[in-house]
Every structure is written in structure tokens, then in C-alpha cells.
Symmetry: C2
Subunit: 347 residues, 2 copies
Amino acid sequence: MNMREIARRAGVSSATVSRVINGSNAVTAETARRVQVILDEAKFIPNPSATTLKYGRSKTYGLVIPDICNPYFSEFLAAFEAALEQIDHEMLLTSVQDAEGLLRSVRRMLMRQVDGAVLMGSEFETQAIEPLLQRRIPIVTLDRRSTDAGRSDVAIDYESGFTEAVLHLRSLGHDRIGFIGGYPQMQTSKLRVNAFRQALQAADLRYDATLVKPGNYRVPGGEAAMAQLLDLPEPPTAVLHANDLSAFGAMLGAHKRGLQVPRDISLIGTDDVLLSEVMHPPLTTVRIPRKRLAQLCIEALEHTKRQEDGRGAQFSLKTELVVRGTTAPPRQARRSTNKPRVRRAPQ
Amino acid sequence: MNMREIARRAGVSSATVSRVINGSNAVTAETARRVQVILDEAKFIPNPSATTLKYGRSKTYGLVIPDICNPYFSEFLAAFEAALEQIDHEMLLTSVQDAEGLLRSVRRMLMRQVDGAVLMGSEFETQAIEPLLQRRIPIVTLDRRSTDAGRSDVAIDYESGFTEAVLHLRSLGHDRIGFIGGYPQMQTSKLRVNAFRQALQAADLRYDATLVKPGNYRVPGGEAAMAQLLDLPEPPTAVLHANDLSAFGAMLGAHKRGLQVPRDISLIGTDDVLLSEVMHPPLTTVRIPRKRLAQLCIEALEHTKRQEDGRGAQFSLKTELVVRGTTAPPRQARRSTNKPRVRRAPQ
DNA sequence: CTGTTAGCGCATTCAG
DNA sequence: CTGAATGCGCTAACAG
């Protein structure tokens, strides 16, 4: 069933049918109505391939994510898909692990003539996305904190989020706060460590590099890092994590040592993955609002598209501290003092 | 950059370029080589819209899943996407919660001219997918255990999987085994309860309806169901679960009652979601091999497409018991007897 | 206000 | 073995 057939049945030309479908007002109400009836009763379904072929625009946005199995990404994916449905666009999803995968991904996006692309997982060769930029396809990256011609960026405001988290801990009486991060080589990992550092500063707490351990954004990494922290002569009384999976791992590690959370150690995650709430105890975490993030990515895409000069813009997303069950005063609650920390005898 | 331009540069016709791209052997090796060089240096990227428009085939398969956020589905999604990449096909992903969503999903698949569709979440109106069947688009459903013209089905063999699980428990000495299922109205839930029943029979154990509680395939449902089981005058010493999330919830519930797993109660999940392994203790579970399932779905699709008469076929997937840390002998281990069960005084 | 026409890029006839 | 011509469905430009 195509427009010509509809046109034939309605006794008009296919151009008129097209106009009716696209809501052009250059059609008599009466004609439009008549065509609409035929359209409905034939259950007409337009063929987007024709439009894409003609205009090189596909009403689809590409989404590149590093790992669908990570709940943070799958939850983002769900939000992104929902947001796209709102604006009547399709999604071209590609899961990319390595540089070669990114190349294939870019090729697929080019073939499918995407109107824009969101690149999560900020660690990629800029060169690989050159072809996209060249064809003036708007790009949005995450957490790169830089923009280019044709590329906007959405940054998560870890600085303010971690500050909120650290202040929460300090108000409970903690002054020895550790941090479990991501892969140390990754740019985003460094970003988060720096944000943690700033947060300590804002809370008037001293930064102690021995309390900062790398993880790998996954459970086993968090567990191993926690083991290292607990092996310290003077372990932290609270730990902030670069993401929730790390915090899950750390909690596991603490439990294995016979510690109770939050009685013996307080934990704060980052992301607010769905499962955080059902952990035991439920995880206190710095929520990255997924829905808002997805919308912001799309806004950023549309913004970039609109720019005459193609300049990308820097967007920023605030987090929200969600206090649940993994934070409590430290074992021997003390009034917080001006002195950076009070030495305690190792137990 | 299109084929005509390549043809011009190579001094041939676009038909020849097309033949080279598609590996037709009706081209001189020399000509083919020359064209290939131009193709490479121009970094030619074909436009699938043209092909789709011309032939109504899109090299894309639709995937309908109920909930991307559920790790079982997101892990399947990852496997499916990888399998599609192997056969050089695209994926049209739609997340469908309700009947109306399915209608929209079908419409999108029709527009995009998918060559087939995999429908997970077997609870849907058959009528909604009629348009797909009418256009002879192959369909694969999961766990419906019935086929149609143009629709094949892939069933998970819960019967053998649960039997293996129950035998494992019985060999440890359990004879009071509970079951936490899914939504009681759902067809798949009934399927699993029946499979559990058969498993008990195969293990020579009596079926006791009071030990079977509905859940909702998610953590809170499992937790609530476990609470009910533990409130029984004589609770089970082991519980099998319709999926892993339920088992997570049950484990949580048991812990909250001060029970230790597996010392006080043994737990077995179903699915083998990635996080199962990092639970504490790690979950013993009936693995549904995700990768194999994805491949099987695609095989089923291709099979259905090949059938002249369009008859669908029934496929079946075996599970694998993965024994980890949530199963152990019951508190007072006893030799299993021929008598269905030994009454113990309620504690 | 409505119809005619042309062309997006490709693969497949059919000629040569 | 190669090329010319065709049409898939749609919409913008133009003509009426």
C-alpha cells in the first residue's frame, strides 16, 4: 500500500495525499477529510526509506554505548528510547568495546544516515568520528568537558554531587573518607577523582592519596579496592564510589571481612542504578537522573543542529544525593572538629 | 558519494560497480580490482535506503522486549545484537509494556520493513501481530510452546532444568522444596510452576501447593514471597525461583529474618544473570544460555523464512545447572527416604 | 487549491 | 563481460 494507491482510491494525486499526511494547509478541508478516511481505512503506513533516500535525513539518532549489560547504560538506553519515541525518531544502537568496534559503528551510522549521534563512553579516538563531523552530523559526547565544531558535550557535575555526598558524611561525623574510582587510565576516572578532591576541599577535609583506590567500574574491582582500603593501618570510616557497581563490590568486600554496613563503614555510590534500592542495606548514592540525561542529550543534539556556525555547546547535569541505608555516623561518633582529623589507635 | 560517482571515476557503469560490490562473478578480475581501488580510496558507503526501497527487504530484524532494565533482557539484547552483527543485519529495538505499545511497535516494524521479528514477553494479543503475519514477516516467540503459520517458537526447557535443580537439592538431603514464581496470571508463570511440579515428580518428591508462592519476577516480589514461606508452620528447606531477581529478593528476605544462606535455607535461581555470580553468597542457578538463545531465535527466524508453506517450527533450549554458593545440605541433614517427607516438630 | 514531474541510490533486467 | 534503462515511494518545485 503506497501513496499512489491511496491517491487513486481518493480520486486525487499522490502529491495531495502527501500534503494531507504532512499536514500542509494547502489542501481544502473537504479533500483532506476524504483522503484521511481512505488513509485510515487502508491502514496506510508510510515508507521511511523513500524519504530517507530523497532527503538523506532518516529521523534516527545513533547511540553508542560501551556495555549494554551494565545497568547504568541499559537504564540510560531505556530512557533514551522513550525520549526518542516522544519526538518520533528511531534509534540506531551500537555497542562498542574497542576502537575497531567504533569504526564499524560509525560506518553503520553513516549508512543509515543518522541525523545525530550520542557517544557514551568518552574514551575513543576522536579521529574515528571525523567522518560524522565532516558530514555535519551533530555529535554529543558525555563527560568530555570539551566541545568542537559539530560536537556538544554533556557533563555530569560530579564536583557538586560529590561535595554534597562528602558534606553528608562529614555531618555524620566522618573525616576519613576514601574513594574507589574507575580504571586509572581513563579520562572520566581522573575527572571523578578530581571531583572527589574538590569535594573534600569544599568540606574542609584533607585529601589523602592513600585512601583513593582505582577500581574498574564493576563489582570485582570494587571488592578488591575495598580489601586494599581495609588493609590500611588506618582505614577510612566512609567510602565514596565512582559508580554503584563498585559500591556493590565494596559492600560485598566489607561483609566478607565481617564488617557491618553502615555500622562499621559508610558507603556512598554514584548513579543510582535500579538495584541500589534493593541492596541490603539499600545504597546511599549520588543519583545521575537518567531520564533528564537522555533528554539533555537530545536537546544538545538539536541545539548543535540548529547552530549556523556548527559550534557545539557545553551542557551540565546536576546530580541528587539519595540518602538510604549505607550511611551512618562512624563507629565512635565524634563531633566534627576544625582539625582535619583525630588520630585513633588502630584497633 | 554514490555508485554513479564511483562508476564515473573508474570509467565503468554503475551496474558494474554494483556487481563488484555484491561480488558477482560476471566481472573481469581486472575490472573488479580497478573498481575496488576506487571504492576503497573514496571510502564508499552504500545507502541501504535505496535497496530497502527497491526490494522491500531491509536486513533488519525487530526485537520486542518487555523491559530493558531487567538484566535478563538487557543481557539477551547484547547477545542478540552481537549475533545480528555476525550476519550483517540491523536491529530495530522496541520496548513494550502494554498492548498499546505493542501496536506502536508493530507499526514501526512495518514502516522499517523488518525481515523478521523476535517477540519476547509472550503475553500479548495475537491479534496485534496479525499485520506482520499477513505480510509474511517471520515471527519468533518465546515460551509460547505453540506455532502458527509464519510463527516459530523457542521454548526454554524448564522441565529438564528444574528437574536437574531439584535432583541436586534432593541429593543434598532436601525434601521440602518451595517455589517462588512469577505473576500468577501470566502464561509463562504457569509454565514454570508446572515444570517445577514435574521436577518434583521426577525426583520422587511430593508436590505441596502451600510451598508455591507467586512473585513478580522482580526483587520485591521475591522478598515478599520468601516472607510468606518463612511464616509457614513448616517452611521449606530449599526454594527454587522462577528467575534470578526473585531469588535475590528471597535471599534479602531470608537475611532480614536473620537466616543464613545456605546454612539455614538453600536457594536456586533461574537465568544466571551477570550479577548472580557476585551476590553474597553467589547464587546457584539454572542458567539459560543467553548467547545460544539469541542464535536460536535467529535460526528460527531464518528457518521460518525458508519454509515454502510458511509453517513455523518449535525449538527448544536446554538449561544448565550452575552450582555456586547458595545450596548446601539442610540444617539437619538426613538421608533421603522413600517416604515423601519426614515430619519435624516446628521449631 | 491541485496535479505533473523529477530524482534521491541501488540492483536487475535486457541488449549488445 | 559490460552498459543503458527502469522503478521502488516519496515530496518539493513548478504549472495550471
